[in-house]
């Protein structure tokens, strides 16, 4: 945001970053699995800000149709749900992380091509640790960066220690968000 935008108070919403960084998860997963016994939970979701316009809804409908049609190729299942804050989740299930990443990318590409790239928030990939606890890697579309999100027992608690360990373990392979105050939690993930 430049000085001119500050002075004039002009707003715009940022478009998604280059999508190559999304695919970094496919290679990073090999390390996660072999070195740290972290396995995919076989599910990922993409969070989209839902607009109540007919144009946006038809773009979203087209996206779902396209992805459902191609999902068969990857043996993936696709469903959508709305959360309490009015955000649309497109949830993809597939045992292969590579196919999950490819399908999530197909969803975001289709929404971008529909002209609503700025409404993409993030994608959440769920994993299981060796002790069967859940951990997530979240991809921030605006910044093209990843961060770990590990819910802890208790109400709205997260294990920052575990998250920082994960950053140290996988930071060389996955572009991790450098600013900790941008590691936004996502509560109530619908999967």
């Amino acid at each position: 945001m430049g000085l001119r935008d500050i002075l004039t108070g002009r707003s715009s919403v940022k478009q998604p970053a280059s999508r190559e960084r999304l695919f970094a998860l496919s290679t990073a997963y090999v390390t996660l699995e072999t070195s740290y016994q972290i396995t995919s939970a076989g599910v990922a979701g993409i969070v989209v800000q839902s607009l109540a316009t007919s144009d946006f809804q038809s773009v979203l409908k087209d996206t779902e149709d396209v992805v459902k049609a191609t999902a068969g190729e990857y043996k993936a299942t696709v469903e959508t749900t709305d959360d309490e804050f009015g955000f649309r989740w497109v949830i993809v299930r597939n045992p292969s992380v590579e196919d999950l990443v490819a399908t999530i990318n197909a969803v975001s590409t289709s929404i971008e091509e529909g002209g609503y790239g700025e409404r993409l928030l993030c994608a959440v990939f769920a994993f299981k640790a060796a002790d069967n606890s859940t951990l997530n890697f979240i991809y921030n579309y605006k910044r093209g960066s990843w961060y770990p999100f590990v819910p802890a027992p208790g109400d709205k608690q997260r294990s920052t220690e575990r998250e920082l360990q994960l950053k140290a373990q996988i930071g060389s392979e996955l572009p991790i968000e450098p600013e900790l105050e941008r590691w936004f939690p996502l509560w109530g993930v619908p999967f």
Partner: protein, 304 residues
């Protein structure tokens, strides 16, 4: 590269032009003040030094002073999960680091944004706002308005814009303190001081009106920014109607301390202050609703 088909959504070059013009006029006014100070070379330098000091305190500490005055206390995600969740999602969308989140224990429904920079920002909501029973989308609209104040660095812009007005006000006060008007000895020094005071009074009076105008433009820009950020102009409109309706019904007994900071709230703390629109720091509700309904029409593809 795919471009957004809504890239034109929310542009208002008229508003931006008015804002730039207002800032230009303010700048012009301040050049006149500085010119008068330099031309007379009185002890005005001392006043400027004091003013710069005050300015520093204002920039660094205004948020803490304001938070303490308002009786705001920071809340954790466990205390206010909905507030945190909505702000976190807005921060992802706005590409902002997470601000501090505070609650003011007052029945008056209102919200404000404080802090000099994006990194040192605090978003405040009153208890009255949280218990008003707004839909999540409406609360989101209000919070996105405050987030836009943070994005636009409105606290910084308004503090800098009012810097010389503060100097002018100080000069006027100092003048009375030193009794510059009194005394019979009419030498050259006294005349020079009188010129400075006269210029200061004029600068203060005009900049007061201009600053209020600038504040109103920044409010329009924040409404617009909220609509662009959430994609739901009508949710903010609905929230503004509910909030202002409640403010008028609640006797103004608890947010009175906030009157001096009215410019930073989403709805002015003084409910009925529209003696004259030029002195108001917020635009009238009808105008804000009209601007939001134009945005909704643009969004739906039915507007201009």
């Amino acid at each position: 590269m795919v471009t957004s088909k809504r890239s034109a959504f929310g542009r208002d070059s008229g508003l931006q032009a008015r804002m730039v013009l207002t800032m230009f006029l303010l700048g012009l006014l301040y050049v006149a003040l500085v010119g008068a100070l330099l031309a007379t070379s009185t002890s005005a330098l001392l006043i400027v030094i004091i003013a710069v000091g005050l300015f520093g305190v204002q920039i660094v500490g205004s948020d803490k002073i304001a938070l303490a005055t308002l009786g705001a206390h920071e809340v954790s995600a466990a205390d206010e999960p909905e507030l945190h969740s909505i702000i976190e999602r807005l921060c992802i969308q706005a590409d902002l680091p997470k601000p501090r989140i505070a609650v003011i224990e007052a029945r008056m429904p209102n919200a404000c944004a404080l802090g000099r920079s994006q990194k040192a920002a605090t978003i405040c909501a009153t208890r009255g706002l949280l218990s008003l029973g707004l839909e999540p989308a409406e609360l989101e609209g209000v919070l996105a308005h405050e987030i836009t104040h943070v994005i636009n660095r409105d606290v910084m812009v308004m503090t800098i814009a009012s810097f010389f007005a503060t100097i002018a006000a100080l000069i006027i006060r100092f003048a009375f303190f030193f009794g510059a008007f009194g005394g019979g000895g009419r030498d050259e020094g006294a005349e020079a001081i009188e010129v400075v005071i006269l210029v200061s009074v004029v600068v203060y009076a005009i900049s007061f009106v201009l600053l209020r105008a600038l504040s109103r433009y920044r409010e329009f820009a924040a409404d617009r920014g909220s609509a662009i950020l959430t994609g739901r102009p009508s949710a903010l409109a609905s929230a503004l109607i509910k909030i202002s309706g409640t403010i008028e019904r609640i006797p103004r007994n608890d947010l009175r301390t906030a009157e001096g900071m009215s410019a930073f709230f989403i709805i002015p703390a003084r409910a009925k202050n529209s003696l004259m629109n030029v002195f108001a720091d917020h635009p009238p509700l009808e105008k804000r609703l009209a601007a939001l309904s134009r945005l909704e029409a643009q969004l739906q593809g039915t507007g201009r």
